[in-house]
Symmetry: C2
Subunit: 242 residues, 2 copies
DNA sequence: CGGGGAATTGAATTAAATCAAGAACGGTGG
DNA sequence: CCACCGTTCTTGATTTAATTCAATTCCCCG
C-alpha cells in the first residue's frame, strides 16, 4: 500500500494528491511536471454560502476547479427575474475561457472550496497541452448536453415533473456512485426553495406545494427543510416525465 | 482582384473556395494541405425540409458543416412532448464528438445544404490539429452560452416576451451583418408556428396570438405566413424582456 | 426564549392551455 | 387560370395550472 502510494504520487504536488480534479477533472490532462508548475501558482479557497464568485459583466481573471460544494450559475433579466442556468459540482472547471467578460453570475450555493489559478497561466497551458483543451472540450460538451436536457424540463414539463426531475438530478450529482439498482437515497439539498424555483422557472410556493405532494404521497421524506430522503427513486423517476 | 483571388485560393479545393465554414467555421483551422485531404473525403448534400439528419439514439458516423438553411435540434419526452433545444445556421458544425450516440434529433427546418465527412477522419484530424479542436471548443462554448440564454427565456419570460425574443434571434442569425443601428429588417421565418411553439415552450395558438398582437401593434408585418418584416427592432427589443 | 428569515398552506387571480370553429395559404390537376 | 383539397394558421370561448396575495408555522441562531 505504502509502496503503491509512493509510485503513484511520485512527483505529484501535495496540494493535488487527493484532489478529484486530478482524476475526473481537467487536471487529469497534466503530467507531474505540469502539475508542479500549476500547483505553484494555484491557491485553495473556501467560500461562504451566498458569496459571489463571478459577477455579471465582470472581467474574469482567474479560473477554478470546484473541490467541494455546489456553485450556481445564474442569469437575470433587467427587472430582476432570475434563472439558474447550471449547477457545478466537484470536480467541475469554473470559468468561461476566451471571453474577457462573463455573461453569467456564479455564486456559492453551499460552502464551496475552490482551487484557483490565474487566467493567463491556464490559457498558456492550454496552448501547450492539447490534452488540457481536449478535457475542457469534453466538459463543455457535457454541460451543453445538461443545458439542453434542462431546456426540455423548462419548456415542456409540468411543475410536478420539474420538481421530481430536480430531485433526481441532485441525487445523482451529490452521490455520483449512485447505483441505478438502489431505490433509496438521501442528501442535503444544496439549494433553498427560492433557488429551486429559480432553477425550475417556478415560484417558491409552487415548489413547496409540489414537495409537499411528493411527501404526502410517500415518495420522499423531508427533515429540517433541507434533508431529503428519497424512498423510491423508481417512483420519483416515473413522475419526472422522462 | 483576379490576382488577389489567385493568391488567396492557391491550393484551396474548389469545393471549399466559397465555403463559409472555411472563414467563420471549423475549417478555418485547416491549412491548404489539410483542406485538400478533407475535401477528398467530404461530400455536399442538399436536404429536404423536414428530413431527419440525426435520429435520437442513433449512432452517428458522420459530421457536417451547415452550408445553408436551418437545422433544428430537438429532444422529446416519451409521451411526445417536444422541445427544440437549438437551431444551427451556416457555418455551424453539426454533430456530437466523442459520443457514439446522439441524445438529440436533428432535422432540416428549411432546405439545407451540408458538407459531410466521415466521423473517423474528423476525429483523426482533431488529434493531429489542436487548432481544429480549439475552433470546436469555441463553437461549443458559444452554443452553451446560447442554450443558457434560452433557458432564461424558457424559464422566466412571458409568452409575449418569448415570441419577441424569438423574432430578434432569428433576425440576427439570418442576417449576421445586421447593424445594431438599423431599425428595420425582413426575413423568411425558417420555422412553422408549431416549431416556434416547440422552441418557446408554448402552444401554436399562443404563438399565433402573440404574433397577431405584434402585428396589430405595428411592430411587425407578416406576409404569406412566413415572411416577416420588423418595422422597429428597437420596440421589438423592448418587448423581449432582455 | 424570542426574533427573523425560510417554508408552508390557503384563497383568489390570471396567463396560457385546451377545445372548437373558421380562414388563409400552397400545391395539384383539370 | 381557377377550383379543389389538405395543411397551416388564426380567432374565439372555456378551462386549468400555476401565480399572486396573504397569513401562519417552522427552523435556526443568538
Amino acid at each position: 500500500m505504502t509502496v503503491r502510494q509512493d509510485v503513484h504520487s511520485a512527483g505529484i504536488p501535495v496540494l493535488c494528491q487527493s484532489c478529484e480534479a486530478r482524476h475526473r477533472g481537467v487536471c487529469g490532462a497534466l503530467d507531474p511536471d505540469q502539475l508542479v508548475g500549476l500547483a505553484r501558482i494555484s491557491s485553495k479557497h473556501t467560500i461562504e454560502p451566498g458569496a459571489e464568485l463571478i459577477g455579471d459583466a465582470e472581467t474574469v481573471d482567474s479560473y477554478s476547479n470546484v473541490l467541494s460544494g455546489v456553485v450556481k450559475l445564474t442569469k437575470s433579466l433587467s427587472d430582476g427575474r432570475q434563472q439558474i442556468v447550471g449547477l457545478q459540482f466537484a470536480p467541475d472547471f469554473l470559468g468561461r475561457p476566451f471571453k474577457v467578460e462573463s455573461a453569467i453570475n456564479a455564486e456559492a450555493a453551499t460552502a464551496v472550496s475552490l482551487c484557483s489559478f490565474p487566467r493567463a497561466s491556464i490559457e498558456r497551458m492550454m496552448r501547450e497541452s492539447p490534452e488540457l483543451e481536449h478535457r475542457l472540450l469534453k466538459q463543455t460538451l457535457n454541460e451543453l448536453d445538461e443545458a439542453r436536457d434542462w431546456m426540455v424540463t423548462l419548456g415542456r414539463k409540468t411543475a410536478a415533473e420539474k420538481v421530481a426531475s430536480f430531485l433526481l438530478m441532485i441525487a445523482r450529482n451529490i452521490d455520483p456512485t449512485l447505483d441505478p439498482a438502489t431505490n433509496v437515497t438521501s442528501f442535503e439539498l444544496p439549494l433553498t426553495r427560492a433557488d429551486i424555483a429559480d432553477f425550475l422557472g417556478l415560484t417558491i410556493e409552487t415548489v413547496s406545494r409540489q414537495l409537499t405532494r411528493l411527501r404526502t404521497d410517500g415518495l420522499i421524506r423531508i427533515e429540517n427543510n433541507r434533508h431529503v430522503t428519497v424512498t423510491s427513486l423508481t417512483r420519483l423517476a416515473s413522475r419526472s416525465g422522462a
